[in-house]
Amino acid sequence: MKAVCWYGKEKLSVETVPDPQILNPRDAIIKVTSTAICGSDLHLYNNMIPTMAKGDILGHEFMGEVVETGSGVSNLKVGDRVIVPFTIACGNCFFCRKELWSLCDNSNPNARLAETFFGYATSGLFGYSHLTGGYSGGQAEYVRVPYADVGPFKVPDELSDEQVLFLTDIFPTGYMAAENCQIEPGDTVAIWGCGPVGQFAIKSAYLLGAERVIAIDHVPERLAMARIEGKAETINYEDVEDLHETLKEMTGGIGPDSCMDAVGLESHGTNLSASYDWIKNKTGLATDRLHVLRQAIFSCRKGGTVSVPGVYGGLLDKVPFGAFMQKGLTMKTGQTHVMRYLPTLLNHIQNGDIDPSFVITHRIKLSEAPNYYDIFEKKKDDCIKVFMKPDDLFDSTSTHVH
């Protein structure tokens, strides 16, 4: 089969690799009908996430058709059309039972490695480094899906791939981020980052009852999407002298009730080693790498909530923890517990509350992926979201350059 393989920083290629096999009784094999490039894939593209290995298959947003099931999978049958959550979860550990699916105790075969980084291991993820299990991902023609009796979620035929694909990650991620804002009636939510997750967070904040959403970015087409699609008020941070004062002024002096960092480590980099950080502190070297998180904490109103869907991997410098403590803030974060949100969000799609395909700007063949990683990374051609189909399933008449 064809698959998008990682060979180093900005080095991807579409390779012919062996078709995946059932390895465990609870596995299934999915024939991919649609997949996508996620903003968090760019962290891998830029080699910002440790423990990537040459030849790793990327991709964690994918859906398709069940073509084979292991002996332990009884809820799926060949031919079922499913979306596959990017989080891999066993369904029976303490964490899965609490619906903390992305914290599953059993699905990461590299738990020991993850423990050295985080104290405890988090769940396996598709196509996202060996720290989260080293599972081959979904930017491929076929994928092996472990614990297939837990993750894959059947979707109705009347909804198109474009409408349901983002249930795998960015829609629930934006939704959980909005839920983590603990929105109450009358609330204003400020969201840093108008990438795909930010866009879904804007819509989700309204679905969860926010009065106002203020979206912050510097990419004009992303701000335009936030305004037109998301009905958010927008701020281009490059156009304002003092973002904090601007937010304060826009909220009658009280500040946003909740502030969301939908940017994460990439825009300002990150550091991944405790020892490195230790040395850096000792020698007085400082980096300025979590600009957004600092701003979100600083600008949040007293007693408000900071929600962090943005990905972080290591240690942070100069977090304004005094402001955080003195203002009595709450912070909520984590990888998305995708399975928890699927019935609710599918319902919203079926009711016409949201059509997740609004975020797609580019529709391409799988074999074009490496080039479009570059376009997405450099935000060329007003790229916000790249939707892909395996070459043989690609219908050129549906190609649409926005």
């Binding site: 690799v17 995946p20 465990n24 080699n47 550990c93 303490f94 092996r144 020892s275």
Partner: protein, 286 residues
């Protein structure tokens, strides 16, 4: 096999051993349950690295890790790991290798330090979301053990209390020994020890206790053993990633997976864009 009834026979030998090893832990309130384990962890917290050595270890470790990080390649990741271990050794003043080989450079300055004993001691706990009955009976069928203890090749039960163990050793060799079950309290604990003059003298116990709040069962393993090549052998094993405590931890992790999910998480055999399915990052690699 020593059933609950025979174990409770005051005249039986098992009962005496059961009292020795079990009574203090189980017959009292749960707050005392892991009294024995507290002694062990106390031992682990002692310092065995001297002050000047700690400083050198800490600075060197930090610098090594920083260099490793700056490389940004695979070797770099390794250097970060080694650096972090040295750093940790400096901060904690405790070195697992020193403990394994019975060295204590801090002893002169800290006369209360416990000298590392002859045997390697390991103690690990996991909470498993399953009833004690299921966990105990899987474990009690000793022939199941190689399914999650990867260093074991086979366990053969010769009668109800005796068994023959074959374990993998370096360079494709094996070591074998006979063991007997010393105590067996269904759904509560099993303890065992090797026959006299075994290739590996070892003794251990596994305890099953109900976890609070419906979380299942806490499984705790205590293991003492003298490795074949003595303590130096254990130190070499530690350097090659087969440190006993890590081995027991990973065995228990696989056991938890089996009990909770009926399989072991793996990527061995998956398709990738390289010749091998796993990489050197993968704990359970090819």
């Amino acid at each position: 096999m020593a059933t609950a009834e025979s174990a409770l026979d005051p005249n039986s030998r098992n009962e005496r051993l059961w009292r020795d090893s079990y009574e203090t832990e189980v017959s009292e309130e749960s707050k005392n349950a892991f009294k024995q384990s507290a002694k062990h962890s106390h031992h682990v917290s002692e310092k065995n690295v001297s002050e000047p050595e700690r400083i050198i270890s800490g600075i060197g470790g930090g610098a090594l890790a920083a260099y490793g990080f700056s490389r940004g390649d695979l070797l770099g990741v390794g250097l970060i790991g080694v650096g972090a271990l040295l750093l940790q050794r400096g901060v904690r003043g405790y070195c697992d290798v020193y403990n394994a080989v019975g060295i204590n450079t801090a002893e002169k300055e800290n006369m209360t330090s416990v000298k590392a004993s002859a045997a390697v001691k390991v103690e690990k706990s996991f909470t498993i979301n399953a009833p004690a009955e299921k966990i105990y009976s899987f474990w009690r069928k000793l022939e199941n053990l190689p399914r999650f203890m990867l260093h074991l090749e086979s366990v053969t039960e010769t009668d109800q209390t005796h068994s023959h163990w074959v374990a993998k050793a370096p360079l494709g060799t094996t070591v074998e020994w006979d063991a007997e079950i010393v105590s067996d309290v269904p759904n509560n604990m099993i303890s065992w020890r090797s026959a006299e003059n075994s290739q590996i003298n070892n003794a251990g116990s596994v305890w099953f206790k109900q976890a609070p709040g419906g979380r299942g069962t806490i499984v705790k393993v205590n293991l003492n053993y003298e490795p074949p090549a003595g303590k130096i052998g254990a130190a070499i094993a530690w350097l090659t990633g087969e440190e006993p405590s890590v081995q027991v931890q990973e065995d228990l992790r696989r056991f938890k997976q089996l009990m909770e999910t009926d399989e072991n998480a793996t990527i061995k055999g998956q398709s990738t864009g390289r010749a091998k399915s796993t990489t050197k990052f993968d704990v359970n690699g090819d």
